[in-house]
């Protein structure tokens, strides 16, 4: 690990002042990803600015949503009674990720900004465009079972690893940012970038900009939302495919729905195409099949992860069918 300087920030404004003043500074949350990457010399900051003293409060908004301080731990958010009641998919997604020890350490802001677990990104003896722009990508013809089928490019196929982010994307959360130029908000669906030619640029954050909070808007149908994760072992593994879903029925018509996927995208994947094909349509098997096809039309699998297309298809259909039957039975899951 390269030597670094350490500062603790009392709040977001101070963190930004420190980051502007220091060379090659990075913000440190729970450290569960950054410390590991520093040990592997993938990350080599000269300064760490500890932002775990930022707000960790989870507060109600007027309309019935929540504002979550960026320093709230993953465990605290998943355990919050309001989250469990209003947004069960968010609690379930968080609890499906990592281990209890890691969830106790990891922050909400850090979870959103964690790096991919692509083994080539971690292994400095291999080529990786994300780690070293222009170097090439050894995953393309390597072991890419865990890699993305959506949003990929010829430069990068690395998967965004977060479960929590998939739920937040489905909920249309907003991230509250603070930077040297002031405060702004961003739809969480706009936070992460697809790799294109520049897989090293992962988010729309400007230099020194910091996530200070995440806002989850009120959403009635989210009370019956769910998150289902398929992986290589029963617990403590990243997703092969995961599905965040919810529906609202009006008689036999799908009035509204949200669908997002994990384990398959270079960013937390909102299934916009499927949603568009479901809204306003009769709640039939044919509608579901057509909607899922519409989403999967954009999939670009490689030999090692072609299985994810069929897995994603079956999982989306199974989950949407379950949400519909729950909704028909009075919404009690």
């Amino acid at each position: 690990m390269r030597a670094f300087d350490y500062h603790q920030a009392a709040d977001g404004t101070q963190a930004i002042e420190q980051a502007v003043r220091c060379q090659q500074a990075e913000y440190l949350g729970g450290g569960t990803n950054l410390v590991d990457l520093m040990r592997e010399t993938v990350e080599r900051p000269r300064t760490l600015i500890d932002v775990t003293r930022l707000s960790r409060d989870i507060t109600d908004t007027d309309g019935g949503g929540l504002i979550i301080g960026a320093a709230a731990t993953n465990a605290a958010l998943a355990g919050d009674a309001r989250v469990r009641r209003r947004y069960p998919l968010l609690a379930r997604a968080i609890l499906s990720g990592a281990s209890a020890q890691i969830r106790n350490m990891a922050t909400v802001g850090g979870n959103l900004l964690q790096r991919t677990r692509c083994a080539y990104f971690y292994d400095t003896a291999t080529r990786c465009n994300k780690r070293e722009p222009g170097a090439g990508c050894d995953a393309l013809e390597g072991f890419h079972r865990y890699h993305a089928i959506f949003g990929t490019s010829s430069s990068c196929i690395a998967t965004h690893p977060s479960d929590m982010a998939v739920a937040l994307v489905a909920l249309d959360a907003r991230v509250h940012l603070r930077g040297p130029a002031g405060d702004r908000q961003l739809a969480i669906t706009e936070l992460h970038r697809e790799p294109g030619e520049r897989p090293d640029l992962e988010t729309e954050l400007q230099p020194e900009e910091l996530i200070v909070a995440v806002e989850v808007p009120p959403l009635a149908m989210a009370v019956h939302s769910q998150y289902r994760k398929v992986r290589d072992r029963a617990s403590y593994a990243f997703a092969l495919v995961s599905v965040a879903s919810m529906v609202e029925l009006d008689g036999d018509i799908i009035a509204d729905t949200r669908l997002a996927l994990g384990g398959v995208g270079t960013k937390p994947w909102r299934a916009w195409q499927a949603e568009a094909a479901l809204r306003g349509q009769p709640a039939t098997a044919a509608t579901l099949a057509a909607a899922v096809d519409a989403e999967l039309a954009a999939a670009r699998p490689l030999p090692g992860n072609t299985f994810k297309v069929e897995l994603a298809r079956r999982l989306m259909i199974a989950e949407l069918s379950q949400r519909l039957s729950d909704a028909r039975n009075g919404g009690d899951a």
Binding site: T32, V35, A78
Partner: protein
């Protein structure tokens, strides 16, 4: 820098790169806490910070200044094994013992989470305030602790016995 470790205030000046795990083992000779993977994958380094379990290998010591840290050396009181330790002995919750300090601290942290009715990924009804204790809950909650010897059945039996004793929760096999 200063930490409270197993009830004692301890001080040391260490490089910012020092993990909490290396601080415990190398500065304070508390070698009960084990280094398995050193990357958050095995749970051998699990300690309690203000009662909550974390992986000491992923924690920078500097970030935990002023906190109350409990290691496996701090579980027993007045020369008497912690109930979880006694149950591991009783139910053969280990073979080589390398993962055991992490398993013990993790189990103590987990029981605290149960007492606070915090949910897990296998909790059927997340909105319910009370958790129904099933064996799959216990295994899911301990999934951050690997055991190369495969002593899992003994570990699960030991923890189930403690829960039966302390919470009055009988957990079927």
């Amino acid at each position: 820098m200063q930490w409270t470790i197993n009830g004692q205030v301890r001080e040391a000046e260490v490089d910012f790169r020092t993990s909490l795990l290396d601080l415990l083992r190398e500065q304070f000779q508390l070698s009960g806490t084990k280094k398995g993977c050193n990357q958050g994958a095995c749970g051998a380094c699990t300690v309690l910070v203000d009662g909550e379990r974390i992986n000491a290998c992923l924690a920078l010591a500097v970030q935990y200044q002023g906190r109350e840290i409990t290691t496996v050396e701090g579980l027993a009181e007045h020369g008497k094994l912690h109930p979880v330790q006694a149950a591991f002995v009783e139910h053969d919750g280990f073979q080589c013992g390398y993962c055991t300090p992490g398993q013990l601290c993790s189990a103590v942290g987990m029981i605290g989470e149960l007492e606070r009715d915090l949910p897990s990924a296998v909790t059927a009804d997340l909105a319910a305030g009370q958790i129904e204790w099933q064996r799959d809950e216990l295994r899911e909650r301990m999934s951050g602790n690997l055991c190369r010897c495969g002593a899992y059945n003994g570990i699960a039996d030991a923890i189930a016995a403690v829960l039966a004793e302390e919470l009055g929760e009988e957990i079927a096999r």
